[in-house]
Each structure stands twice: as C-alpha cells, then as structure tokens.
Subunit: 194 residues, 2 copies
C-alpha cells in the first residue's frame, strides 16, 4: 500500500515536472496535469494542498535527484578537479529524451517566472542553486589543491561559472541551439585554466 | 487624433510591460491588463490581434528604447572601451521606480517562459539579445584598440559577458539581492582586464 501511495505521488510529480518544462508554471493548468497524469482530483489534493505547494514539491524532488548527480559527478568520479568540472558541464549539452539536459534545469525554466509570484517556490529554487554553487566551489577547491585549476577564490569562481551557465542556457532556449552552451564550455575552460 | 491614437497604444504597451515584469506573460490576464490600463477591449483589439501579438509588440517596443540606451552608453558617451562597458553594466544595479534595472530586462523575465510557448515572441527576444551582444562586442573592439581591454575575440568575450549577466540577474531574482550582480561586476572587470 505504501509503495502504491509513493508511486502515485511520484507519478504526479514526474508528470508535473515534464509539463512545467514545456509550458512553465502559470500556463500549466491543474486539469491538464490531472488529465496527463490520469489521476483524479482527489488524488492530487491527498498529496498537495495547492498548485503552489505542488510546485514546491516538484522543485524539491528535482533537487533531491540533482544532489545525487552532483555527488556522483563532482565527488565520486575519479579525476582532477578540472576534469570533474568539465565533465559536469559537458553533460549540460547532452540529450536525454529529446531534450538537451541544460533545458531540464528548473532554475532557468522557473526562476524568473515564479520568483515574483511565490516566495516559497523562489526559496526552494534558491536552496537548490546554493547547493549546486557550493558543490562547484568544492570541486574548484579540489582543483586548486591538485594543481589543475587556477582560482584565487573558489566561491567567487563558482558563482561566475554558475551564472555563466544559467545565462547560456537561457540563450540556448532563445536560439534553440547548443551554440551558447558550447561558448560557455570554452569560456569555462579558459576561466579555470588561465 | 494621431497623437491620441499613438498615446493609447503606447499606454497599453507600457501597462503590459509593467504587468509582465511583475507576473510574467501567462499569468497576466487580458481582463487585468484592460482594467489596469483603463481601456476597453475594443481599443486593445484595434491595435493587437491577440495576446501573443501584444507580447511581441511589448518586446519590440522595449528593445526600440534599449537600442537608444546602448547607443548613448556604448557609442556616444566619451571614455575608453572598458569605462563605457563598466558604466553600462554598473547601471544594471541601479534602481528606478523601486525596481533594480536588471530586473526590468525582458530577456530574463520572459526568455525561459515564452521560448517554449511562442516562436514569434522567442524570435523577438532573440533579435534583442543579438543587438545587445553586438553592441557589447563593438565596445570590446573599441577597448582592444584603445588598449583598455584585453580580449582575443570580441564576439566570444561579449557572449561570455552577456551570459554571465543574464545568469546573475536570474540569481538576483532568486536571492532578492544585488549580490549576484555585484559578483558579476567584479568578474566582468577581471575578465576584461586580465
């Protein structure tokens, strides 16, 4: 029974995540979500108090998976600090289910739209962004120690890199091409190795 | 009569721009726009075929003003290439009518939300982003010539800077602080002068 319950909740979260990636948050109707997920309204309200509460849960679920990815790529995978970081950023250009991985980023997709609409969703996104920046900074520290990265201040370099990639992702949504991400990859290499 | 006509259209555009900055595009209802602008529905449809067409017009109007600003700051204002660029980016942190200027940027506010919803709005935003990047690149060229800027490739440096500032603006919406923009300002100085 617990398994079924978990599965239904997770299924609604996954469906909502995909819909949000295509349409954004405001344009995703609750009726559309329920229809796509093939669950009754009662099921939704069993797990979530409101659409906003659901939005928070989608973001939290996204980052709980993302934290594992960061751990795998930036902590567990062998290699110098520079190699691990480049490997992490190269993945932003890869495709998965027809979508470039950068375009699966909820911070880019939702950040500007919801930051003025919902404080709780904004805070959930911010927590995620801070986790990512901290993991990048930690990997830069590693690279400074192993001599693969040249940086005076790991946290400020991490902020610069992360801002660069958020902006490049936004531009690649406008150009509908990987070019801005490719340009960010080149800039990352030269920023870390100057 | 022409003056009145122009004024009504511009008034609807200005009201829509402010509403979009607060709520995004999907969450801005047409009824709300008409009520805030205090114009009848007929007036709106006299100038715009649809909400999407209105969105395109708001973006085009925004960039027609922005192009003048770029010309003033990056072409007409005296100073080295570096001084002009730093002056331009410093303005992103200034406040106007209670809103930080960076947060008045339609590319950050709308880019991710509308790029998957409307090709015409996406293309209008892209045209604007390309104008800005080209103006930054031209100013970097000037700085290379006058010796104030060190860059191997003005267009690729312009892309990096612009991506950095888009991402920092997005993060400053999440943190509700100027810190990410301040960090982008420091990074800009060191990117251009290394």
């Amino acid at each position: 029974m617990t398994v079924k319950t978990e599965t239904t909740k997770q299924h609604i979260l996954n469906t909502g995540y995909e819909l949000i990636l295509s349409k954004g948050f405001s344009a995703m109707g609750l009726a559309e979500l329920l229809k796509t997920a093939e669950v009754p309204k009662g099921s939704f309200y069993h797990y979530f108090n409101s659409k906003e509460h659901f939005g928070e849960a989608v973001i939290a679920d996204y980052f709980s998976n993302y934290v594992e990815l960061l751990d795998t790529l930036l902590v567990q995978t062998p290699g110098s600090g520079l190699e691990r970081l480049m490997n992490y950023f190269e993945r932003w250009l890869e495709f998965e289910n027809g979508r470039c991985k950068a375009h699966k980023c909820l911070i880019v997709k939702l950040g500007a739209e919801v930051s003025d609409l919902s404080d709780t969703m904004r805070e959930e996104l911010l927590k995620g962004a801070e986790l990512i920046t901290a993991a990048i900074a930690q990997c830069i520290e590693l690279g400074i120690k192993d001599g693969s990265i040249d940086s005076q201040n790991s946290l400020s370099s991490a902020n610069t890199l992360y801002h660069l990639w958020l902006g490049a992702t936004l531009m690649s949504k406008l150009t509908q091409s990987l070019e801005p991400l490719q340009s960010a990859l080149n800039a990352t290499r030269s920023l870390l190795k100057k």
